[in-house]
């Protein structure tokens, strides 16, 4: 796609589509755009939500007309192209892959015809990127999951899974920062508190960050503050 495409999303919002499919290069640029907008803070810009291939933009139509805003966004997007690639933050997330607490480990292994150890190895082998933030505070959509690990969502979502659940669905993986209803398969538990505190806007992850999972044993999990809660 040569130029971003704009769609109306109500009288005071628009959806800027930047590409047809997600990619790491696109992600870097979307992240750079988000940073730039956050620093620039044009007064008419009310809110933005960066996602896989889009930027959702809420603006104040009293301060700017839609087409001027679109021109401004397009120019900003083109200007970023030539800029140096930003260096993403890197996170290593400890995960206790526990067959006794996470029955899905066994289910995923069986579905894929591999050993539980192989599921763990594959899940830890990749460096994931944060493709989007949303659903709930601190929830990061990580991609791309190894093709050999891809499973559909649960037919019936669970009412509640523990905070720190590390789960997979289709080509995505994520850590649930808070206990929540969930339709993803849970592979393990992360002992870290990833829920953003209310006095600090900064969530752990930003769009574009790199995330790697590291398998830990039960003792380490508990010493890092983890609670052995069964996912049921």
């Amino acid at each position: 796609m040569d130029r971003p495409r704009f769609a109306r999303a109500g009288v005071n919002a628009m959806l800027m589509t930047l590409a047809e499919t997600p990619s790491e290069t696109l992600l870097n640029r979307i992240f750079a755009m988000q940073q730039w907008l956050t620093n620039e803070k044009p007064p008419w810009l009310v809110d933005i939500v960066p996602a896989y291939v889009t930027l959702y933009i809420v603006f104040d139509p009293v301060l700017i007309d839609r087409f001027t805003a679109q021109r401004w966004m397009t120019e900003a997007w083109s200007a970023l192209e030539s800029q140096s690639i930003h260096r993403p933050k890197q996170h290593i997330i400890p995960v206790y892959y526990a067959p006794d607490l996470c029955p899905d480990l066994d289910i995923v292994a069986a579905m894929k015809g591999m050993a539980i150890e192989d599921v763990i190895t594959l899940h830890c082998a990749h460096v994931y990127r944060v493709y989007a933030l949303g659903f709930a505070p601190g929830f990061a959509y990580l991609g791309e999951l190894d093709e050999q690990l891809r499973v559909p969502r649960l037919a019936t979502p669970r009412q509640n899974i523990p905070a720190g659940s590390v789960a997979i669905a289709e080509q995505q993986t994520a850590i649930y920062p808070a206990s929540s209803p969930a339709g993803w398969h849970v592979l393990g538990l992360c002992p870290l508190d990833l829920q953003p505190t209310s006095d600090d806007l900064q969530t752990t992850f930003a769009v574009g960050d790199e995330v790697r999972f590291e398998a830990i044993d039960k003792d380490t999990f508990i010493s890092l503050g983890g609670h052995c809660e069964v996912v049921s």
Binding site: G10, V11, L15, A51, V53, G138, T203
Partner: protein, 313 residues
């Protein structure tokens, strides 16, 4: 001077709100804020607060509060019987409570949300630049939750009593069991086939029992055909989502920040305000405006919100 407001009966969902959070959606936080921004602004304006001051949003009524010292307040929004001690009082105007007075809000008869603004405001900490309670996130307001029996809020009333003020009948919201929702097109309007567009615009939808501050699920006798899912993207308040079952869900103030369902329409803010008073069983229809007509209507509503002329009683 501080005054305490004691919660005797909390009602089903009474929360502290202001006009909501801005600039936080990119971090996954919902905007929250008053469901009916018109009535919330009106209540704050009546008592000379800034329009974004913290106030109480009462859902469906059934509340009782007591104060331990004098304070002026205004109440706007849904029609519900109001009493100070045993005396019935009028809505959309200011009143004064004296020490020991009990304010009772009966069950709403028309509309569903009431706004209670206290002159000088409620003392509550800002959280991500807003006082709004986001219950799902446990964030803001009074410990991130709705009020419960026995809670005490701190008010900071002004030293002098106010002369009573009110809105004329023409400036008060009106509530109906059948509501026209004004919309303009959303990002996926063009994914709909002609027949589906007609189903969306010509059908009467019933509000289902699945409606809260996050979203209102509608129920159609003739559901729309399912559309292909889209790559998850940002969603905002008023967006009309179309999930696979063809029954639209309208995003309200506590909406999630991202979603993967197509959004053929988006409500104008005035219609979000109107919808927030609808109850299960009420009927809505969508009216699609051209972009320019939508913008003109939006601007008129914004101007109305800026002025909101009250009068002395």
């Amino acid at each position: 001077m501080k005054v305490s407001l004691h919660v005797i009966k909390p009602g089903s969902l009474t929360t502290i709100q202001d006009l909501g959070r801005r600039g936080v959606a990119q971090h996954g936080f919902t905007t929250a804020g008053a469901m009916d921004q018109y009535a919330a602004r009106a209540a704050n304006i009546l008592v000379d607060n800034s329009v974004n001051s913290a106030l109480l949003e009462v859902t469906l009524g059934g509340c009782q509060f007591e104060v331990d010292d004098a304070v002026d307040f205004a109440i706007c929004g849904a029609e519900a019987p109001l009493q100070i001690n045993q005396r019935y009082v009028e809505s959309w105007r200011t009143h004064r409570l004296e020490a020991g007075d009990v304010l009772s809000i009966g069950f709403a008869q028309r509309g569903s949300r009431l706004y209670l603004a206290f002159a000088g405001g409620i003392s509550v900490e800002h959280c991500l630049a807003s006082c709004s309670t986001a219950v799902r996130e446990g964030l803001g307001g009074f410990h991130g939750r709705s009020l419960q029996r026995g809670d005490a809020l701190e008010l900071s009333p002004r030293a002098h009593a106010m002369s009573a003020r009110r809105f004329s009948v023409t400036d008060r919201s009106r509530f109906a069991k059948e509501v026209t929702l004004y919309t303009t097109i959303g990002p996926q309007w063009f994914l709909l086939k002609k027949a589906e567009k007609q189903k969306l615009l010509q059908q009467r939808f019933t509000i289902s029992s699945d409606c809260d501050r996050m979203g209102y699920r509608l129920s159609a006798s003739d559901p729309l055909a399912s559309l292909p899912g889209i790559i998850s993207e940002g969603v905002g308040v008023g967006a009309v989502q179309l999930p696979n079952d063809g029954q639209p869900i309208i995003m309200m103030r506590d909406h999630q920040t991202m979603g993967g369902y197509p959004k053929p329409l988006v409500l104008l803010p005035e219609s979000v305000d109107a919808l927030s008073h609808c109850l299960p069983g009420d009927v809505v229809t969508f009216k699609l405006l051209t972009p320019s007509a939508g913008l003109a209507r939006y601007q008129r509503y914004q101007q109305r919100l800026q002025k909101l002329p009250w009068e002395y009683v």
